[in-house]
Protein backbone atom coordinates (compact mmCIF):
# COMPACT_ATOMS: atom_id res chain seq x y z
CA UNK A 1 0.00 0.00 0.00
CA UNK A 2 2.84 2.36 0.76
CA UNK A 3 3.38 4.80 -2.08
CA UNK A 4 6.77 5.82 -0.70
CA UNK A 5 9.21 3.30 0.77
CA UNK A 6 12.45 5.29 0.68
CA UNK A 7 12.57 9.10 0.94
CA UNK A 8 16.10 9.40 -0.44
CA UNK A 9 15.17 7.54 -3.58
CA UNK A 10 11.90 9.40 -3.84
CA UNK A 11 13.35 12.93 -3.50
CA UNK A 12 16.44 12.33 -5.62
CA UNK A 13 14.46 11.06 -8.59
CA UNK A 14 14.76 13.06 -11.80
CA UNK A 15 11.14 14.09 -11.43
CA UNK A 16 9.81 14.01 -7.85
CA UNK A 17 6.30 12.61 -7.58
CA UNK A 18 4.25 14.97 -5.43
CA UNK A 19 1.39 12.72 -4.30
CA UNK A 20 2.69 10.70 -1.35
CA UNK A 21 -0.47 9.43 0.38
CA UNK A 22 -1.17 5.69 0.53
CA UNK A 23 -2.67 4.41 -2.69
CA UNK A 24 -1.79 7.53 -4.72
CA UNK A 25 -2.80 7.23 -8.35
CA UNK A 26 -5.06 4.21 -7.94
CA UNK A 27 -7.53 4.62 -5.08
CA UNK A 28 -8.82 8.22 -5.31
CA UNK A 29 -12.08 7.47 -7.10
CA UNK A 30 -12.89 4.61 -4.74
CA UNK A 31 -12.20 6.93 -1.79
CA UNK A 32 -14.57 9.54 -3.22
CA UNK A 33 -17.31 6.91 -3.61
CA UNK A 34 -16.81 5.79 0.00
CA UNK A 35 -16.88 9.40 1.14
CA UNK A 36 -20.13 10.15 -0.70
CA UNK A 37 -21.78 7.01 0.72
CA UNK A 38 -20.73 8.06 4.23
CA UNK A 39 -22.09 11.57 3.69
CA UNK A 40 -25.45 10.50 2.22
CA UNK A 41 -25.76 7.78 4.86
CA UNK A 42 -25.40 10.37 7.59
CA UNK A 43 -28.34 12.32 6.21
CA UNK A 44 -30.51 9.21 5.98
CA UNK A 45 -29.75 8.06 9.51
CA UNK A 46 -30.13 11.46 11.15
CA UNK A 47 -33.28 12.35 9.20
CA UNK A 48 -34.94 9.15 10.36
CA UNK A 49 -33.97 9.58 14.00
CA UNK A 50 -34.99 13.23 14.01
CA UNK A 51 -38.44 12.42 12.59
CA UNK A 52 -38.98 9.77 15.26
CA UNK A 53 -37.87 12.12 18.01
CA UNK A 54 -40.08 14.99 16.85
CA UNK A 55 -43.14 12.71 16.49
CA UNK A 56 -42.61 11.26 19.97
CA UNK A 57 -42.25 14.68 21.54
CA UNK A 58 -45.21 16.11 19.64
CA UNK A 59 -47.50 13.33 20.91
CA UNK A 60 -46.78 14.30 24.53
CA UNK A 61 -48.11 17.85 24.02
CA UNK A 62 -46.07 19.56 26.71
CA UNK A 63 -46.91 23.14 27.66
CA UNK A 64 -44.71 26.15 26.99
CA UNK A 65 -43.33 26.18 30.53
CA UNK A 66 -43.13 22.44 31.22
CA UNK A 67 -39.42 22.40 30.44
CA UNK A 68 -38.81 24.42 33.59
CA UNK A 69 -39.48 21.34 35.69
CA UNK A 70 -36.52 19.71 33.94
CA UNK A 71 -34.00 22.40 34.78
CA UNK A 72 -31.10 20.81 36.63
CA UNK A 73 -28.51 22.33 38.88
CA UNK A 74 -25.53 20.64 37.34
Amino acid sequence: MATVTNWIDHLSAKEVVGAVYPGAGSTETLLVILGVVFWIGWHVITARSESEKLSRLARKRHGANDHKSNVTEW
Binding site: L31, K53, K60, H67
Partner: protein, 466 residues
Amino acid sequence: MTDQLGALTVIFTEFYYWVTVVLMFLIHVGFCMYEVGASRYKHHQHTLMKNTMVIPLVTVTWFFFGWWIYWAFPTGPGIAPSIMTESTALIMDDSTFSAKWYAPNTEFMAVNLGDHISGVFWAAFLLFSWTAASIVSGAIIERITTFAFGILAIAIGSFFWVIDAAWGWHFDGWMLKILGYHDAYASGVIHAIAGGFALGVLMVLGPRIGKFSSSGEPRNIGPRNPWLVTIGLFLIYTGFWGFYAACNIPIFDLGPEYGMEGVTYWTATNIYVTPTTLSGITYNFLMSLSGGLLAGYVVAKGDPFWTYSSGLAGIICASAGNDLYHPIQAMLIGAIGVVIAYKMHYWVERKFKIDDAVGAVAVHGYAGFAGLVICGFVLNGYPSSGYNVGAMWDGSTYASINPLGQFLGAIIMFVVLGLIPGYVLARILNAFGKLRIPREVEIAGLDYEMMEDDRDAEKAVASSTR
Protein backbone atom coordinates in the same frame (compact mmCIF):
# COMPACT_ATOMS: atom_id res chain seq x y z
CA MET B 1 11.19 24.10 -4.97
CA THR B 2 14.87 24.45 -5.68
CA ASP B 3 15.26 28.26 -5.64
CA GLN B 4 15.43 29.67 -2.08
CA LEU B 5 13.61 32.95 -2.79
CA GLY B 6 10.89 31.17 -4.72
CA ALA B 7 10.55 28.65 -1.90
CA LEU B 8 10.24 31.44 0.67
CA THR B 9 7.50 33.13 -1.35
CA VAL B 10 5.56 29.91 -1.64
CA ILE B 11 5.96 28.91 2.01
CA PHE B 12 5.07 32.46 3.14
CA THR B 13 1.90 32.36 1.05
CA GLU B 14 1.04 28.91 2.37
CA PHE B 15 1.50 30.05 5.98
CA TYR B 16 -0.35 33.34 5.35
CA TYR B 17 -3.52 31.54 4.23
CA TRP B 18 -3.19 28.98 6.99
CA VAL B 19 -3.20 31.78 9.59
CA THR B 20 -6.28 33.36 8.02
CA VAL B 21 -8.10 30.03 8.21
CA VAL B 22 -7.39 29.71 11.93
CA LEU B 23 -8.52 33.31 12.51
CA MET B 24 -11.68 32.76 10.50
CA PHE B 25 -12.57 29.76 12.64
CA LEU B 26 -13.47 32.37 15.25
CA ILE B 27 -16.30 33.56 13.00
CA HIS B 28 -17.99 30.22 13.45
CA VAL B 29 -17.33 30.14 17.18
CA GLY B 30 -18.85 33.60 17.32
CA PHE B 31 -21.91 32.60 15.30
CA CYS B 32 -22.51 29.61 17.60
CA MET B 33 -22.31 31.78 20.74
CA TYR B 34 -24.40 34.50 19.17
CA GLU B 35 -27.18 32.14 18.12
CA VAL B 36 -27.34 30.38 21.47
CA GLY B 37 -27.42 33.78 23.17
CA ALA B 38 -30.30 34.85 20.97
CA SER B 39 -32.34 31.66 21.42
CA ARG B 40 -34.56 30.74 24.33
CA TYR B 41 -33.37 28.32 27.02
CA LYS B 42 -35.50 25.39 25.88
CA HIS B 43 -33.95 25.51 22.39
CA HIS B 44 -30.29 26.16 23.31
CA GLN B 45 -28.69 22.80 22.60
CA HIS B 46 -30.57 22.21 19.37
CA THR B 47 -29.60 25.71 18.20
CA LEU B 48 -25.96 25.02 18.99
CA MET B 49 -25.89 21.61 17.31
CA LYS B 50 -27.67 22.87 14.22
CA ASN B 51 -25.01 25.46 13.53
CA THR B 52 -22.18 23.15 14.57
CA MET B 53 -23.23 20.66 11.89
CA VAL B 54 -22.53 23.33 9.28
CA ILE B 55 -18.85 22.52 9.79
CA PRO B 56 -18.85 18.88 8.65
CA LEU B 57 -21.69 19.14 6.13
CA VAL B 58 -20.32 22.09 4.22
CA THR B 59 -16.74 20.83 4.52
CA VAL B 60 -17.35 17.44 2.94
CA THR B 61 -19.54 18.84 0.16
CA TRP B 62 -17.02 21.60 -0.43
CA PHE B 63 -14.45 18.86 -0.91
CA PHE B 64 -16.71 16.80 -3.18
CA PHE B 65 -17.97 19.54 -5.49
CA GLY B 66 -17.92 23.11 -4.12
CA TRP B 67 -14.29 23.90 -4.88
CA TRP B 68 -14.57 22.37 -8.34
CA ILE B 69 -17.53 24.66 -9.14
CA TYR B 70 -15.50 27.77 -8.29
CA TRP B 71 -12.86 26.94 -10.85
CA ALA B 72 -15.22 25.55 -13.51
CA PHE B 73 -17.91 28.27 -13.70
CA PRO B 74 -16.30 31.73 -14.25
CA THR B 75 -17.56 31.89 -17.83
CA GLY B 76 -21.17 31.33 -16.79
CA PRO B 77 -20.97 28.95 -18.67
CA GLY B 78 -21.91 30.45 -22.01
CA ILE B 79 -21.79 34.14 -21.04
CA ALA B 80 -18.27 35.56 -21.50
CA PRO B 81 -15.08 33.89 -22.72
CA SER B 82 -12.29 32.95 -20.34
CA ILE B 83 -9.06 34.91 -20.68
CA MET B 84 -7.25 31.60 -20.29
CA THR B 85 -9.09 29.43 -22.82
CA GLU B 86 -11.00 32.05 -24.87
CA SER B 87 -13.97 29.70 -24.58
CA THR B 88 -17.28 30.25 -22.78
CA ALA B 89 -17.48 26.58 -21.78
CA LEU B 90 -16.77 25.24 -18.31
CA ILE B 91 -13.04 25.63 -17.58
CA MET B 92 -11.84 22.04 -17.54
CA ASP B 93 -8.78 22.13 -19.79
CA ASP B 94 -5.13 21.59 -18.80
CA SER B 95 -4.41 25.24 -17.85
CA THR B 96 -3.08 26.18 -14.41
CA PHE B 97 -6.37 27.50 -13.02
CA SER B 98 -8.60 24.80 -14.44
CA ALA B 99 -11.25 22.96 -12.41
CA LYS B 100 -9.67 19.78 -13.69
CA TRP B 101 -7.18 19.88 -10.81
CA TYR B 102 -9.85 20.36 -8.15
CA ALA B 103 -12.11 17.37 -8.66
CA PRO B 104 -12.13 15.35 -5.42
CA ASN B 105 -10.30 12.40 -6.97
CA THR B 106 -7.25 14.35 -8.19
CA GLU B 107 -3.84 14.24 -6.59
CA PHE B 108 -3.89 17.97 -5.76
CA MET B 109 -6.75 17.51 -3.31
CA ALA B 110 -4.39 15.77 -0.87
CA VAL B 111 -0.87 15.87 0.55
CA ASN B 112 1.20 16.71 -2.48
CA LEU B 113 4.84 17.77 -2.28
CA GLY B 114 4.49 19.74 -5.49
CA ASP B 115 1.59 21.89 -4.30
CA HIS B 116 1.74 24.04 -1.16
CA ILE B 117 -1.18 26.33 -1.92
CA SER B 118 -4.27 24.38 -3.00
CA GLY B 119 -5.16 23.05 0.45
CA VAL B 120 -4.88 26.34 2.33
CA PHE B 121 -6.66 28.25 -0.44
CA TRP B 122 -9.38 25.57 -0.46
CA ALA B 123 -9.71 25.96 3.30
CA ALA B 124 -9.88 29.78 3.14
CA PHE B 125 -12.80 29.54 0.73
CA LEU B 126 -14.34 26.80 2.85
CA LEU B 127 -14.41 29.11 5.85
CA PHE B 128 -16.26 31.65 3.68
CA SER B 129 -18.73 28.86 2.90
CA TRP B 130 -19.33 28.13 6.58
CA THR B 131 -20.03 31.82 7.08
CA ALA B 132 -22.61 31.88 4.29
CA ALA B 133 -24.44 28.92 5.83
CA SER B 134 -24.12 30.29 9.36
CA ILE B 135 -25.71 33.59 8.36
CA VAL B 136 -28.81 31.67 7.29
CA SER B 137 -28.73 29.57 10.45
CA GLY B 138 -29.29 32.52 12.79
CA ALA B 139 -32.39 33.83 11.05
CA ILE B 140 -34.34 30.56 11.32
CA ILE B 141 -33.64 29.40 14.86
CA GLU B 142 -36.13 27.60 17.12
CA ARG B 143 -38.39 26.22 14.39
CA ILE B 144 -36.50 24.51 11.57
CA THR B 145 -35.61 20.81 11.47
CA THR B 146 -31.94 19.88 11.53
CA PHE B 147 -32.48 17.86 8.35
CA ALA B 148 -33.87 20.83 6.44
CA PHE B 149 -31.18 23.14 7.70
CA GLY B 150 -28.51 20.65 6.64
CA ILE B 151 -29.84 20.63 3.08
CA LEU B 152 -30.14 24.42 3.00
CA ALA B 153 -26.64 24.84 4.48
CA ILE B 154 -25.14 22.65 1.78
CA ALA B 155 -27.13 24.50 -0.90
CA ILE B 156 -25.93 27.95 0.11
CA GLY B 157 -22.49 26.92 1.45
CA SER B 158 -21.33 24.53 -1.25
CA PHE B 159 -23.37 25.52 -4.28
CA PHE B 160 -25.09 28.88 -4.69
CA TRP B 161 -22.48 31.11 -3.12
CA VAL B 162 -19.76 29.31 -5.07
CA ILE B 163 -21.58 30.03 -8.30
CA ASP B 164 -21.60 33.72 -7.45
CA ALA B 165 -17.94 33.56 -6.43
CA ALA B 166 -17.03 32.03 -9.79
CA TRP B 167 -19.03 34.74 -11.58
CA GLY B 168 -18.10 37.79 -9.53
CA TRP B 169 -15.18 36.91 -7.26
CA HIS B 170 -12.71 35.35 -9.67
CA PHE B 171 -10.16 37.13 -11.86
CA ASP B 172 -11.79 35.50 -14.90
CA GLY B 173 -15.44 35.95 -13.84
CA TRP B 174 -18.01 37.03 -16.44
CA MET B 175 -19.54 39.62 -14.11
CA LEU B 176 -16.27 41.57 -14.08
CA LYS B 177 -16.10 41.59 -17.85
CA ILE B 178 -19.70 42.39 -18.70
CA LEU B 179 -20.85 44.39 -15.66
CA GLY B 180 -17.60 45.75 -14.21
CA TYR B 181 -18.56 44.06 -10.95
CA HIS B 182 -16.34 44.80 -7.95
CA ASP B 183 -16.76 43.28 -4.49
CA ALA B 184 -13.32 43.03 -2.89
CA TYR B 185 -14.35 41.81 0.59
CA ALA B 186 -17.67 40.19 -0.25
CA SER B 187 -20.50 42.63 0.49
CA GLY B 188 -22.42 40.70 -2.14
CA VAL B 189 -20.75 37.38 -2.80
CA ILE B 190 -21.08 36.26 0.81
CA HIS B 191 -23.37 38.64 2.66
CA ALA B 192 -26.04 39.78 0.20
CA ILE B 193 -26.53 36.28 -1.15
CA ALA B 194 -26.75 34.68 2.30
CA GLY B 195 -29.12 37.41 3.49
CA GLY B 196 -31.30 36.96 0.40
CA PHE B 197 -31.26 33.17 0.81
CA ALA B 198 -32.30 33.53 4.47
CA LEU B 199 -35.17 35.82 3.47
CA GLY B 200 -36.36 33.30 0.88
CA VAL B 201 -36.39 30.53 3.49
CA LEU B 202 -38.14 32.75 6.07
CA MET B 203 -40.93 33.55 3.61
CA VAL B 204 -41.86 29.86 3.61
CA LEU B 205 -40.83 28.90 7.14
CA GLY B 206 -42.95 31.54 8.87
CA PRO B 207 -42.45 33.27 12.22
CA ARG B 208 -41.86 31.70 15.62
CA ILE B 209 -45.06 30.99 17.53
CA GLY B 210 -46.02 34.13 19.42
CA LYS B 211 -43.82 36.50 17.43
CA PHE B 212 -46.85 38.35 16.08
CA SER B 213 -50.03 39.21 17.96
CA SER B 214 -53.43 38.29 16.53
CA SER B 215 -53.61 41.81 15.11
CA GLY B 216 -50.24 41.34 13.42
CA GLU B 217 -48.16 43.50 15.75
CA PRO B 218 -44.62 42.15 16.15
CA ARG B 219 -43.48 41.22 19.66
CA ASN B 220 -39.88 41.41 20.76
CA ILE B 221 -38.29 38.02 21.46
CA GLY B 222 -34.99 39.55 22.43
CA PRO B 223 -31.68 37.80 23.12
CA ARG B 224 -31.85 35.71 26.30
CA ASN B 225 -28.17 35.99 27.05
CA PRO B 226 -26.79 39.39 26.02
CA TRP B 227 -23.28 38.54 27.27
CA LEU B 228 -23.04 35.49 25.05
CA VAL B 229 -24.26 37.59 22.14
CA THR B 230 -21.65 40.22 22.96
CA ILE B 231 -18.76 37.78 23.03
CA GLY B 232 -20.11 36.08 19.92
CA LEU B 233 -20.16 39.29 17.94
CA PHE B 234 -16.71 40.30 19.14
CA LEU B 235 -15.42 36.94 17.96
CA ILE B 236 -17.10 37.47 14.59
CA TYR B 237 -15.35 40.87 14.33
CA THR B 238 -12.06 39.13 15.13
CA GLY B 239 -12.58 36.43 12.56
CA PHE B 240 -13.55 39.08 10.05
CA TRP B 241 -9.96 40.43 10.24
CA GLY B 242 -8.81 37.05 9.07
CA PHE B 243 -11.46 37.07 6.36
CA TYR B 244 -10.14 40.37 5.00
CA ALA B 245 -6.60 39.03 4.88
CA ALA B 246 -7.81 35.80 3.29
CA CYS B 247 -9.44 37.75 0.46
CA ASN B 248 -6.02 39.09 -0.57
CA ILE B 249 -3.15 37.50 -2.42
CA PRO B 250 -0.27 38.40 -0.12
CA ILE B 251 2.58 38.77 -2.62
CA PHE B 252 2.39 38.96 -6.40
CA ASP B 253 4.44 40.43 -9.23
CA LEU B 254 1.92 42.34 -11.35
CA GLY B 255 4.40 43.40 -14.05
CA PRO B 256 4.58 40.16 -16.01
CA GLU B 257 1.00 39.27 -14.99
CA TYR B 258 -0.37 42.30 -16.83
CA GLY B 259 2.08 41.86 -19.71
CA MET B 260 4.05 45.04 -18.88
CA GLU B 261 7.38 44.53 -20.58
CA GLY B 262 10.36 44.95 -18.23
CA VAL B 263 8.21 46.04 -15.27
CA THR B 264 8.46 44.31 -11.92
CA TYR B 265 5.89 45.36 -9.33
CA TRP B 266 5.54 43.24 -6.22
CA THR B 267 2.43 43.97 -4.15
CA ALA B 268 -0.47 42.45 -2.30
CA THR B 269 -3.59 42.21 -4.44
CA ASN B 270 -7.26 41.60 -3.91
CA ILE B 271 -9.05 38.50 -5.25
CA TYR B 272 -9.24 40.15 -8.70
CA VAL B 273 -5.44 40.50 -8.85
CA THR B 274 -5.59 44.31 -8.68
CA PRO B 275 -3.28 46.06 -6.24
CA THR B 276 -4.09 46.99 -2.64
CA THR B 277 -2.27 46.77 0.67
CA LEU B 278 -2.95 44.89 3.90
CA SER B 279 -2.13 48.12 5.66
CA GLY B 280 -4.69 50.13 3.71
CA ILE B 281 -7.51 47.68 4.22
CA THR B 282 -6.76 47.68 7.95
CA TYR B 283 -7.59 51.39 8.05
CA ASN B 284 -10.83 50.72 6.25
CA PHE B 285 -11.85 47.68 8.27
CA LEU B 286 -11.59 49.64 11.50
CA MET B 287 -13.16 52.81 10.19
CA SER B 288 -16.15 51.00 8.68
CA LEU B 289 -16.57 49.06 11.93
CA SER B 290 -16.53 52.39 13.76
CA GLY B 291 -18.99 54.01 11.36
CA GLY B 292 -21.34 51.08 11.86
CA LEU B 293 -21.09 51.14 15.64
CA LEU B 294 -21.61 54.91 15.82
CA ALA B 295 -24.66 54.81 13.56
CA GLY B 296 -26.06 51.71 15.25
CA TYR B 297 -25.83 53.29 18.69
CA VAL B 298 -27.89 56.22 17.44
CA VAL B 299 -30.58 54.44 15.40
CA ALA B 300 -31.03 51.64 17.94
CA LYS B 301 -30.98 54.12 20.84
CA GLY B 302 -28.13 52.33 22.58
CA ASP B 303 -29.60 48.82 22.31
CA PRO B 304 -26.54 46.56 22.66
CA PHE B 305 -27.80 43.78 20.37
CA TRP B 306 -28.33 46.14 17.46
CA THR B 307 -25.27 48.28 18.21
CA TYR B 308 -22.95 45.27 18.02
CA SER B 309 -24.74 43.96 14.94
CA SER B 310 -24.38 47.40 13.38
CA GLY B 311 -20.60 47.24 13.73
CA LEU B 312 -20.74 44.14 11.60
CA ALA B 313 -23.20 45.71 9.16
CA GLY B 314 -20.87 48.72 8.81
CA ILE B 315 -17.97 46.53 7.73
CA ILE B 316 -20.21 44.52 5.42
CA CYS B 317 -21.55 47.62 3.68
CA ALA B 318 -18.10 49.07 3.04
CA SER B 319 -16.50 45.76 2.12
CA ALA B 320 -17.20 45.90 -1.63
CA GLY B 321 -14.77 48.79 -2.06
CA ASN B 322 -12.62 48.65 1.06
CA ASP B 323 -9.58 47.79 -1.06
CA LEU B 324 -9.65 51.33 -2.49
CA TYR B 325 -11.78 53.62 -0.28
CA HIS B 326 -10.42 56.39 1.89
CA PRO B 327 -10.95 55.46 5.57
CA ILE B 328 -13.46 58.29 6.07
CA GLN B 329 -15.38 57.12 3.03
CA ALA B 330 -15.39 53.65 4.60
CA MET B 331 -16.69 55.06 7.88
CA LEU B 332 -19.51 57.03 6.25
CA ILE B 333 -20.52 54.15 3.99
CA GLY B 334 -20.59 51.85 7.01
CA ALA B 335 -22.86 54.28 8.81
CA ILE B 336 -25.22 54.63 5.83
CA GLY B 337 -25.45 50.85 5.51
CA VAL B 338 -26.48 50.50 9.14
CA VAL B 339 -29.31 53.02 8.86
CA ILE B 340 -30.62 51.25 5.74
CA ALA B 341 -30.34 47.78 7.32
CA TYR B 342 -31.99 48.79 10.59
CA LYS B 343 -34.90 50.63 9.00
CA MET B 344 -35.44 47.91 6.41
CA HIS B 345 -35.47 45.19 9.09
CA TYR B 346 -38.38 46.71 10.99
CA TRP B 347 -40.24 47.76 7.87
CA VAL B 348 -40.09 44.25 6.39
CA GLU B 349 -40.99 42.72 9.76
CA ARG B 350 -44.15 44.82 10.09
CA LYS B 351 -45.17 44.81 6.45
CA PHE B 352 -44.54 41.18 5.53
CA LYS B 353 -44.53 39.48 8.98
CA ILE B 354 -41.02 38.15 8.46
CA ASP B 355 -39.44 36.90 11.70
CA ASP B 356 -35.69 37.21 11.23
CA ALA B 357 -34.63 36.14 14.71
CA VAL B 358 -31.16 37.71 14.71
CA GLY B 359 -31.48 40.40 12.06
CA ALA B 360 -29.33 38.39 9.65
CA VAL B 361 -31.21 39.45 6.54
CA ALA B 362 -30.72 43.08 7.55
CA VAL B 363 -27.10 42.96 8.70
CA HIS B 364 -25.88 40.79 5.85
CA GLY B 365 -28.48 41.10 3.11
CA TYR B 366 -29.61 44.72 3.09
CA ALA B 367 -26.25 46.14 4.20
CA GLY B 368 -24.44 44.00 1.62
CA PHE B 369 -26.83 45.04 -1.15
CA ALA B 370 -26.49 48.71 -0.24
CA GLY B 371 -22.71 48.36 -0.11
CA LEU B 372 -22.55 47.06 -3.67
CA VAL B 373 -24.69 49.91 -5.01
CA ILE B 374 -22.73 52.58 -3.12
CA CYS B 375 -19.46 51.09 -4.39
CA GLY B 376 -20.66 51.58 -7.97
CA PHE B 377 -20.91 55.33 -7.42
CA VAL B 378 -17.81 55.87 -5.27
CA LEU B 379 -15.49 53.74 -7.42
CA ASN B 380 -17.16 54.67 -10.71
CA GLY B 381 -14.57 54.46 -13.50
CA TYR B 382 -11.98 52.34 -11.68
CA PRO B 383 -10.95 49.25 -13.67
CA SER B 384 -12.54 46.05 -12.41
CA SER B 385 -9.41 44.19 -13.48
CA GLY B 386 -5.82 44.79 -14.52
CA TYR B 387 -6.30 42.75 -17.68
CA ASN B 388 -7.47 44.41 -20.89
CA VAL B 389 -10.01 47.00 -19.71
CA GLY B 390 -12.78 47.75 -22.22
CA ALA B 391 -16.47 48.58 -22.49
CA MET B 392 -19.52 47.40 -20.58
CA TRP B 393 -21.39 44.45 -22.19
CA ASP B 394 -18.34 43.75 -24.41
CA GLY B 395 -17.65 40.41 -22.78
CA SER B 396 -14.19 39.83 -24.20
CA THR B 397 -12.64 42.72 -22.19
CA TYR B 398 -13.23 43.91 -18.64
CA ALA B 399 -15.72 46.75 -18.04
CA SER B 400 -14.90 49.48 -15.53
CA ILE B 401 -16.71 49.67 -12.20
CA ASN B 402 -20.01 51.57 -12.63
CA PRO B 403 -23.30 52.13 -10.77
CA LEU B 404 -25.52 50.13 -13.13
CA GLY B 405 -23.20 47.13 -13.16
CA GLN B 406 -23.01 47.14 -9.37
CA PHE B 407 -26.80 47.43 -9.04
CA LEU B 408 -27.33 44.51 -11.41
CA GLY B 409 -24.66 42.60 -9.51
CA ALA B 410 -26.51 43.25 -6.27
CA ILE B 411 -29.73 41.90 -7.81
CA ILE B 412 -27.90 38.78 -9.00
CA MET B 413 -26.46 38.20 -5.53
CA PHE B 414 -29.46 38.99 -3.34
CA VAL B 415 -32.36 37.87 -5.54
CA VAL B 416 -31.22 35.53 -8.32
CA LEU B 417 -28.73 33.40 -6.39
CA GLY B 418 -30.03 34.12 -2.88
CA LEU B 419 -33.72 34.76 -2.39
CA ILE B 420 -35.10 32.64 -5.24
CA PRO B 421 -33.11 29.45 -4.51
CA GLY B 422 -33.80 29.80 -0.78
CA TYR B 423 -37.53 30.19 -1.41
CA VAL B 424 -37.74 27.31 -3.89
CA LEU B 425 -35.76 24.89 -1.74
CA ALA B 426 -37.80 25.79 1.33
CA ARG B 427 -41.00 25.21 -0.62
CA ILE B 428 -39.78 21.77 -1.69
CA LEU B 429 -38.78 20.80 1.85
CA ASN B 430 -42.08 22.13 3.14
CA ALA B 431 -44.02 20.11 0.57
CA PHE B 432 -42.44 16.97 2.00
CA GLY B 433 -43.25 18.07 5.55
CA LYS B 434 -39.55 18.28 6.39
CA LEU B 435 -39.05 22.02 6.85
CA ARG B 436 -40.62 23.00 10.15
CA ILE B 437 -40.79 21.20 13.48
CA PRO B 438 -44.27 20.32 14.82
CA ARG B 439 -46.08 23.08 16.68
CA GLU B 440 -46.16 20.99 19.88
CA VAL B 441 -42.38 20.60 19.81
CA GLU B 442 -41.81 24.29 19.24
CA ILE B 443 -43.95 25.06 22.29
CA ALA B 444 -42.37 22.38 24.46
CA GLY B 445 -38.84 23.22 23.35
CA LEU B 446 -36.49 21.31 21.08
CA ASP B 447 -34.33 20.37 24.07
CA TYR B 448 -37.23 18.97 26.12
CA GLU B 449 -36.18 15.32 26.05
CA MET B 450 -32.53 16.14 26.59
CA MET B 451 -33.42 18.25 29.62
CA GLU B 452 -35.72 15.53 30.92
CA ASP B 453 -32.91 12.97 30.64
CA ASP B 454 -30.57 15.34 32.46
CA ARG B 455 -33.08 15.76 35.26
CA ASP B 456 -33.50 11.99 35.64
CA ALA B 457 -29.75 11.51 35.61
CA GLU B 458 -29.33 14.18 38.26
CA LYS B 459 -31.96 12.49 40.43
CA ALA B 460 -30.23 9.14 40.04
CA VAL B 461 -26.86 10.57 41.02
CA ALA B 462 -28.39 12.43 43.96
CA SER B 463 -30.13 9.30 45.27
CA SER B 464 -26.94 7.25 45.02
CA THR B 465 -24.97 9.78 47.08
CA ARG B 466 -27.41 9.99 50.00
